[in-house]
């Protein structure tokens, strides 16, 4: 394109951006401040200048860091190794026993701290006497001060704190900034006499009346067609509606219950063993408050089945876990780990009180997990769950419902694999074939509720159920690699605005 033509396309902001860059590269944010421009104006202009070949844009990724919960604890207390080092320094030479009795720390933490100090020669052990290596004091003080540096938002080389990252004391976060620089053509254009000329951008009523002699700024031959900022409902809402419609059309009624749940409804009623690892604080989100109210009769019936099983007939008997059931654990409050807690509340409220009527229920709601968040793990996830109650239901019926449901949400080719769930038997993992990825992927779980889970409700007919995590399927459909991009406050708003809804209705 001719230089003159290019110049006629430049507006005031474009010119301001270009003149800012004549003396060297700058971040877009610096230009905003220096020229008192709005962010959106600078961003739009930079895109245009880039397409005209007048500037270059480099994305500078910077890695930031922040403290984890453990990191925050250490920020107050000091790193374990720092505390041990200081303890030894304070007391001159000490024995291991003195260290272990003198410091009130977790034993494992203390062991690890002593081990690491020894390994890095911060301390010396001679004949059971431990002393510090004074040459290393600066180093350990510096290491400990990294915590406040991280908290204070100072820029730190992640290499320097790689140990703290590995130990889960500090976690990494990434941010991207745009650095702009002018090209040779851009520079040439700023020197052109025409560059200083004024071209009219917006038409006023006066301009329209007196248009003769005015020079209009020209637009490019192929202007960047921006995605307009329309309002939209969230892509998750659309997907949820798609699923809900499928469920309702199959005769299912929607369920709902509170996020806060008691361990009883989340675990006990489903016959999770009381020492099941999912119940650990490492996996479940516990409230500081406790004291959920449990229906006493039901609690006693669950306890009985857990401890001793039941015998309805010689063909239908359970020996239970043959272990003591501790009812005191049942009232602790948690953020429900799965929506099956809701399902069991509905079994109690509706199915057990209308045993003669067939029933189908579904829910699309959140479950919560104690996870460290990364590109594939989230702390809260939408779960889809469907259950069917009626006469003579079997695994064959379950497979029928699964096939029908997945077909309705655009997934044709599925297969089933036996698996294990604490509260269903048989249990079947649902796998779908991805024509794009050319492999089988897990897309759900299913099964027939164990008789032990239904006995306390007096239910003797089978209940079949299936479910899956919505985010995982949404990610497959949208071909996204980072699950966080559509997650709460971490959502990338431009991605959310521009993502194509069509993908959620098709196969993945």
């Amino acid at each position: 394109m001719e230089k003159e033509n290019i110049i006629r396309m430049l507006n005031k902001t474009d010119k301001a951006v270009m003149t800012s860059l004549v003396n060297g590269e700058m971040f877009s944010t610096e230009i905003e401040t220096n020229k008192a421009l709005e962010r959106s104006a600078v961003i739009n202009s930079a895109r245009k200048l880039l397409s005209l070949g007048l500037i270059r844009i480099d994305n500078i990724t910077s890695t930031g860091v922040r403290l984890t919960a453990l990191g925050k604890q250490y920020l107050t207390e000091g790193l374990p190794e720092y505390r041990v080092f200081n303890f030894i320094k304070k007391h001159g030479a000490v024995t291991y026993k003195q260290i272990f009795s003198g410091l009130s720390m977790d034993k494992n933490e203390l062991n690890a701290a002593v081990g690491s100090l020894k390994k890095s020669s911060f301390i010396t052990v001679e004949k059971d006497r431990v002393t510090i290596n004074p040459d290393k004091e600066k180093e350990i003080v510096r290491k400990n001060s990294m915590l406040s540096a991280v908290e204070g938002g100072q820029s730190i080389d992640p290499e320097e704190i790689s140990d703290l990252i590995k130990r889960g004391i500090v976690e990494q976060i990434e941010s991207i900034r745009e650095k702009l620089s002018i090209t040779a053509l851009g520079k040439e254009i700023t020197k052109d006499r025409e560059f200083a000329e004024e071209y009219l951008d917006k038409l006023s009523a006066d301009n329209i009346k007196n248009w003769e002699g005015l020079r209009f700024r020209e637009y490019s031959r192929n202007p960047e067609i921006l995605n307009s900022l329309s309002g939209r409902s969230n892509i998750k809402t659309k997907f949820i509606s798609f699923i809900k419609d499928a469920m309702v059309s199959m005769g299912f009624s929607e369920m709902h219950s509170n996020y806060v749940e008691s361990s009883f409804w989340n675990f006990d009623v489903m016959m999770f063993r009381q020492d099941h690892p999912d119940r650990d604080i490492q996996d479940t989100v516990y409230l500081t408050a406790g004291g959920g109210k449990i229906p006493e009769g039901l609690l006693q019936r669950v306890k009985k089945v857990y401890e001793r099983g039941f015998r309805r007939s010689k063909y239908d008997e359970s020996i239970g876990y043959r272990k003591e059931f501790d009812g005191a654990k049942s009232s602790s409050l948690i953020m429900r780990g799965h929506t099956t807690a809701t399902t069991f509340r509905y079994i109690y409220e509706f199915i057990s009180k209308n045993k003669d009527k067939p029933a189908k229920f579904f829910s699309v709601d959140k479950g919560f997990r104690n996870e460290t968040m990364d590109s594939t793990h989230l702390l809260e996830l939408y779960q889809i769950e469907g259950i069917v109650y009626g006469d003579n239901l079997s695994v064959a019926d379950l497979i029928g419902y699964i096939k029908q449901f997945y077909k309705r949400i655009g997934i044709e080719k599925i297969r089933l694999k036996p698996t294990y769930n604490p509260y269903t038997e048989p249990s079947l993992e649902i796998q779908a074939f991805s024509p794009k990825l050319k492999r089988w992927l897990e897309v759900g779980n299913s099964g027939v509720f164990r008789p032990e889970t239904l006995e306390p409700f007096g239910i003797t007919k089978n209940i079949i159920a299936w479910g899956f995590g919505m985010e995982r399927m949404l990610n497959l459909k949208l071909e996204m690699s980072d699950i966080r991009d559509l997650y709460g406050a971490y959502t990338d708003i431009d991605l959310l605005r521009d993502i194509s809804s069509a993908k959620i209705f098709s196969e993945f």
């Binding site: 959106s40 494992n108 809402t237 409230l287 079997s394 036996p418």
Partner: protein
């Protein structure tokens, strides 16, 4: 999940067949195992119910039952009484077994250690509930005794060490002490022989002098722990897995008191099955003879009694509690593919939650105003909910510390999360006019103290943002979705004095009843979020309308 990693040759050696990777792939899918494989490496992942599968022998047995292959195993369990006494201790439950190996142990030693480690970790819960100790039987002078001693009596050469160590040195220097030292009680527990020499200090370390070597031909194994059922379960699984490499005997243990007797029994419960019971769960017919053949191949004991089959699971299976567990085994054997699906046929009326269409309508109106819907997280942090918004937090759900330091509570208001989203998207396109229709958690009249409440929050962040524009949107929403036309306002009185600009913040009323609030965010809060454009918000309860 338990991982078992073997090579193709290792598996085929036990299977006595030249199976290919694809064969294992097909069999794994049918039996319900996950298999990842390289060119010749097979990495199996087992579900947590089959705790008995801890070696390539027990793993191969799953496949063998599918293919009708018989893997050699010494089924007879003997009895032995070399002289073993057990005192009451802090780890009071003890079983002891003896194994006469087929030849010496040589190439099986790694597998044996792996079995020990898997059981210690997965069933014994890192040796807390149960732990296993291995000894070379021929090196022991019987009788032996399991008892507590004073720590000053401890002096032996720990496994893989050269010289004797006292209690303090063992606890200080051994990596095992660091891992398991906290499992022993106030007094150390030892196995000692008739001369008083220490064989081991369970569950931490054995003495080197009694350790197994490549030439070991006979094993003595102790299973010690705090939980009787776990000690017995580990013992049974161990017996099963060792039956593939030697003949196993139960060693008679003389317990000093009745309450520590483990009463180990290899008997299992008898379940009745019929063709009809199987058909009613699977929805497909399996003939009685087939059921019998399948269960026998899976090591069940099956007795025919009229139309009934009386079925006893193998002694090592911890997962069979009801007939359904046995039928699940039958299903895995015949293959899920052989079950023909039944097309859903029972009629029930489907339906959404009562507020479904109201919420849908609200979304539609806001989208019409050009607002983008945001899905807000329930889990958040006081920093956003209260500190940066200058709100005095009370009556909210506070959480015990989580792995992610970012989460400490459950959302009470939606708009702080929307401001947080804008602060994370400062380099993205503006205006950012957004809304969320989500549930928050508040103290309420429920059996779990708290209840979900549905709220709507509307946030406009742009150069001309102002509260009156946002109020006009709220008015439209209320008028259309409910329909309510008497929205009135008053200056907001308490709770938000620092959140909003004074004189630009309102409590919203419908029929005189407060339903929410609206305002222009004060620069102090905008600065706290790093937002550089005027921002106006409204937040209303949807449930009560």
């Amino acid at each position: 999940m338990v991982m078992l990693n073997y090579t193709l040759d290792e598996m085929n050696e036990v299977m006595h067949r030249k199976l290919k990777i694809e064969d294992y792939d097909r069999l794994s899918l049918k039996c319900g195992l996950d298999l990842d494989h390289g060119e010749s490496a097979l990495n199996f992942e087992l579900t947590s119910d089959r705790v008995d599968v801890v070696s390539r022998y027990s793993l191969a047995s799953i496949f063998a039952s599918q293919l009708g292959i018989n893997i050699k195993r010494h089924l007879l369990i003997g009895r032995k009484n070399p002289g073993v006494a057990v005192d009451y201790t802090s780890r009071r439950f003890v079983n002891v077994i003896y194994v006469n190996l087929d030849g010496n142990i040589r190439d099986k030693i790694d597998e044996l250690i792996a079995i020990q480690e898997r059981l210690d970790k997965n069933v014994g819960r890192n040796r807390r509930k149960a732990a296993i100790g291995l000894f070379d039987y021929s090196k022991i002078s019987f009788p032996i005794k399991y008892h507590e001693v004073d720590s000053n009596q401890i002096n032996f050469i720990p496994l893989e060490y050269q010289s004797s160590m006292d209690y303090a040195s063992i606890m200080k220097e051994l990596k095992q002490s660091k891992e398991y030292g906290n499992l022993s009680g106030k007094k150390p527990i030892v196995w000692s022989d008739k001369t008083g020499r220490i064989l081991a200090m369970p569950p931490i370390i054995n003495a080197d002098s009694y350790s197994i070597t490549k030439d070991t031909k006979e094993l003595l194994i102790d299973i010690t722990g705090t939980d009787k059922e776990t000690v017995n379960a580990v013992t049974k699984i161990l017996i099963y897995n060792l039956q593939f490499i030697g003949s196993v005997s139960l060693v008679k243990v003389n317990y000093t008191s009745k309450e520590i007797a483990t009463k180990l029994s290899l008997e299992t419960h008898s379940f009745h099955l019929t063709e009809e019971v199987v058909r009613s769960l699977l929805g497909t017919s399996v003939k009685k003879d087939s059921i019998r053949r399948i269960l026998l191949s899976m090591d069940y004991t099956v007795i025919q009694s009229g139309k009934d089959l009386i079925v006893r699971p193998p002694f090592y299976r911890q997962d069979v509690m009801h007939q359904v567990d046995i039928i699940d085994d039958i299903m895995r054997n015949i293959g899920v593919d052989s079950i023909k699906d039944i097309v859903p046929h029972s009629y029930t009326e489907g339906g959404f939650l009562p507020n479904h269409y109201t919420l849908q309508n609200i979304r539609e109106i806001l989208v019409g105003f050009g607002y983008q819907e945001i899905d807000i997280n329930a889990l958040t942090n006081e920093k956003y909910q209260f500190d940066k918004t200058f709100i005095n937090g009370q009556d909210y759900v506070s959480l015990l510390p989580l792995k992610s330091g970012e989460v400490t509570m459950v959302s009470k208001n939606l708009f702080p999360e929307l401001l947080r989203l804008i602060s994370n998207n400062l380099h993205k396109k503006f205006p950012q006019n957004i809304f969320s229709l989500s549930e928050v958690v508040e103290k309420g009249n429920s059996d779990v103290i708290f209840s979900n409440k549905t709220k709507l929050s509307v946030v406009s962040c742009q150069k001309d943002a102002n509260v009156t524009d946002v109020l006009s949107i709220i008015k439209k929403v209320l008028a259309d979705a409910f329909p309510l036309n008497d929205l009135s306002t008053d200056y907001i009185e308490e709770g938000f004095s620092k959140t909003f600009i004074t004189g630009r913040a309102y409590t919203l009323y419908m029929n005189g009843k407060p339903v929410g609030f609206a305002g222009e965010i004060h620069p102090r809060a905008l600065n706290a979020f790093g937002i550089e454009l005027p921002t106006a918000i409204a937040e209303i309860y949807v449930d009560g309308l």
